[in-house]
Each structure stands twice: as C-alpha cells, then as structure tokens.
Amino acid sequence: MLGTLIKYEFKATWMIMTLICGVLIGAGVVAGLVGNFLNLNSPTLTDMQELLLTFGVIGYAMLVSSLSMLSAVFLFVHYYRSLYTPQGYLSFTLPASITEVVSSRIIVGCIWTLASTLATFFSVSFTFMLSGNFKEIVTFIDEAYATIIEEVGAASTNLIIFEFILVFILSSISKMLMYDYSITVGQLWSKHKILGAVICYFATQFVMGIISFTGHFGLMFAAFESSMNFTMRGWITKNLLYSVFLCVAFYGVAIFVSNKKLNLD
C-alpha cells in the first residue's frame, strides 16, 4: 500500500515541483550565458557593466533563494492540506496504516527536497561554467582543494567532500522534516492548530540553537586545549551525525504523534 500511496503523492506534486526544478536549472543556464555574453572578465569594466553585474548577481541570488523557499512552502502546504484539511478524511481512511500515510508524504517530500537541492547545485554550477567568469573563485576553490589534498591525502579529501555534500543535502531534508514535524505536533493543540505549529517550530529552533551553540563552542574550546584533535574530518562527521539525528528525530516524532493523537475535528 505504501507504493500506491507514494505513486499518488508524486501525481499530486510532480507538476509544481518539476516546474520549480526546471526554472532553477534554466535560470542557471540563462545567467551563465548572459554572463558570457557580457564578457565580465575584462580587466576594465564600464559603469554599465558593473551595474548589470551587481543587479544580475542580486537578481539571480534572489530568484534561486525564492524558488527554494517556494518549493519548501509548496511541500509543507501540501503536507498540511492532504492530511489535516478535509482531504485528510480521505487520506486517513484509505486502507493503509497511519504510519504509511504520513511516511508517504515525508518520503516524497524528501525526494523533492533532494531534487530541488541538486537543481540549485546544478544551477549555480552552470552559471559558473557557462559564463567563464569568476575565475578568481574557481582558482580559489582549486587551490583550496590542492591544499587539503596535500594535508590529508586524496582519498580522505574526496571522502570529506562527499560527507560535506551529504551534510548539505541532509540539512535541507531535515529542514523540510522540521516543517512537517511542526505541523503534526501543532495538531495537538485543540484550537489554533496552526499557531501551535508555529510555536513548535520556534521552540524547536531555539533548542537546536542551544545545541549547536554549545556544540560549536565546545568544539572550539576543545580545539584550543588540544589543537591536534580538531580536524576537518571530525567536524564534518559530527555535523553529519547531527543532521542524521535531526532527520530521525523529526520523522520519529511526526509518526508517533500521528499514530497516538490523530484528531481531525
């Protein structure tokens, strides 16, 4: 039954989400081509070119961030509507367990979050590659990469990069899970369920703030005391574990609360 549920989740979301991902990648291609056409690498830029560059960069950044925000909003609105409005009367009376119904939403949400994160990544990459601009940044990344390889070896470096990408993806997924979890926990309020979701979101944000604050500072103090122990690897691995923990915790709480306290009134 989970398979059928997931199939219908994709049917309900694919149009908007493919559009968002497509526009993200398309914007990257266009930005790259425009950059290339303007030839911004020449040592002397006219005022006009500088103006275009500034607005172009700002515009592109705004577009990308608003699109990823749009995808997050679309996904959590879909989660809310399909479970906690009258549509939930159908969702929760299908011959499937509550765990399956909620999981199908979360799984498809994760897949789309992954897709839009990748689309953002490709969008930015295309901008760089096609424009042939921003040579300094590319050189800087190359140099940094070489330095790390010198320090820890090629195999470790690739692992670090892999872990870094994983942390990046997991943290965007954990953000999405946090919205879903907040919406579900908000249902525990007997009235003002949306207010409940907002309160839950900020309370969780606060707790997470404390955790990462102590985490980072603890790490820094530890680094001062024995500077040998502080490694890039260690830092990334800790972040990775933290992201995994957040994902599991948000998912677990959402499923638990749905099973014990589902009340569509």
Binding site: M1, P86, T93, A96, S190, K260, N263, D265
Partner: protein
C-alpha cells in the same frame, strides 16, 4: 450473529466539552440505520471515531469484530459531510484512484451511475457545482462493495430529483449482509429507506428502535417524532 458495528462505553471530550458520553450501540448486518440528532448532538464525532479520524477519550469500537485500524478501514466505505477530494483531479482520476486503493471497488458500477446522473468523467472537480461534487463522492463511496457504509449527510446538497435517485441507488446497491449508517437532517426524505433509527442527544443515545416500531407505538412518523423530541 456477529455484530457489524459494536460500540462499548464510548466517550469523547474535546477541550473539556463532552461530545459523547458512554455511548453503547450494536448494529447487525443487513440494516439501514438512521443516525439522527440536532446539530452538536455528536453525530459527526461518533462517525469520525468509527472511521479512525478521531481518537476516543475512552471506550472501544469494533467493526466486523476488528478494532479501528487498517483492517477496519478496508471494510468501511465513508462519505464525509465535506468534499474531501483534491479539486485538481478529474472525475475519472478519482475513480482510478479508488480502484487502486480499494480492492472492493467496482468500476462499472461507478461509470453507470455517472452516466445515469449525467456527469462527464473528463471534467475536473473544481469545475463542478457543489451538488455535483457531492454526487461524485457518493458514487465513489457506493461503488465499493464494503461491509459498512457510513454516510454523513449524503443528500444535504443535492436537488430533490437526484435525492430520489441517490436513495434508490443506496437500496439497490447494497449487499444484504452489509449495513449502512446514515446521518441526516432530512429525515422525511430518508425515512422510508431506513429500518432502524438512532436518536442522539447531548452525546447520548436517546432512542434506538426499528422505524416501524416507532411508527406503530407513537402513531407518528420518525420525522414528526424527531420534531417533537427536539422541539426548541
């Protein structure tokens, strides 16, 4: 014979308001039972608990001997009092969806009813009137071969001509071993297809009797009795 619906000591409290108080009911197979009561008497709350959409504060519900869960949902065909379909879907897509989810769904029956009511399956739900949407939902629900049909205000939004068709569809389609629980305000319209009535008041079962017993004991129709019992 095993009861299709068994409710024992069911209570539900919302935010300190008692919506249901110690409700006990047993409905056997082969009945069309009216769940009657004024607004706020607990009809919808009771229905939602049976369908697993609300958690009871105390008490137990068994459907065909099973507690509320995945197995009970397989045998209940539920029509809520609101539109619960995604407005962006076509009528056809909702039918395919029901076929994919419910093993007991009968496609032919659904398409026959759509034809009889003159509903174009290619239309998107958002282009349909409120009454037509209700008809589509009722068609979906009645096209299943379920054991227990639970219809919350099934004819409230449809015109009298369609009402008659719908009520006949209900009697014509259900299997004699299945039961139907209908909650409604429109008692006069529905009365003749019922064989039992439950009167709810302030979250309690005030009366649970066969229709003809009510009629011969009181000399009144259930509709008249209802107006008398709940006179304001």
């Amino acid at each position: 014979m095993n009861n299709l619906l068994e409710i024992q000591g069911l209570s539900k409290t919302y935010d300190r308001v008692q919506a249901l108080t110690n409700v006990n009911l047993s409905i056997g197979p082969g009945h069309i039972t009216g769940l009657l009561g004024p607004n706020g008497s607990g009809k919808t709350t009771l229905i939602k608990i049976i369908c697993g959409l609300l958690q009871p504060t105390s008490g137990a519900v068994y459907v065909d001997g099973m507690p509320i869960g995945t197995e009970s949902k397989k045998v209940i065909s539920y029509l809520p009092d609101q539109t619960y379909l995604n407005d962006n879907m076509t009528v056809e897509a909702t039918i395919t969806m029901f076929r994919d989810f419910y093993a007991d769904f009968d496609m032919n029956r659904a398409y026959n009813m759509l034809t009889n009511l003159g509903i174009n399956p290619k239309f998107k739900l958002k282009t349909l009137s409120k009454g037509t949407k209700e008809k589509v939902q009722l068609i979906l629900v009645m096209s299943r071969r379920a054991k227990l049909y639970i219809l919350d205000e099934p004819i409230a939004g449809v015109d009298p001509a369609a009402r008659d068709y719908i009520l006949r569809t209900i009697i014509g389609n259900y299997d004699p071993s299945a039961s139907i629980l209908i909650s409604t305000h429109l008692i006069a319209d529905v009365e003749r297809i019922l064989d039992e009535a439950i009167f709810l008041q302030y979250g309690n079962v005030r009366l649970y009797q066969p229709i003809d017993t009510i009629r011969s004991e009181t000399g009144k129709s259930v509709d008249e009795l209802f107006r008398e019992v709940y006179r304001c």
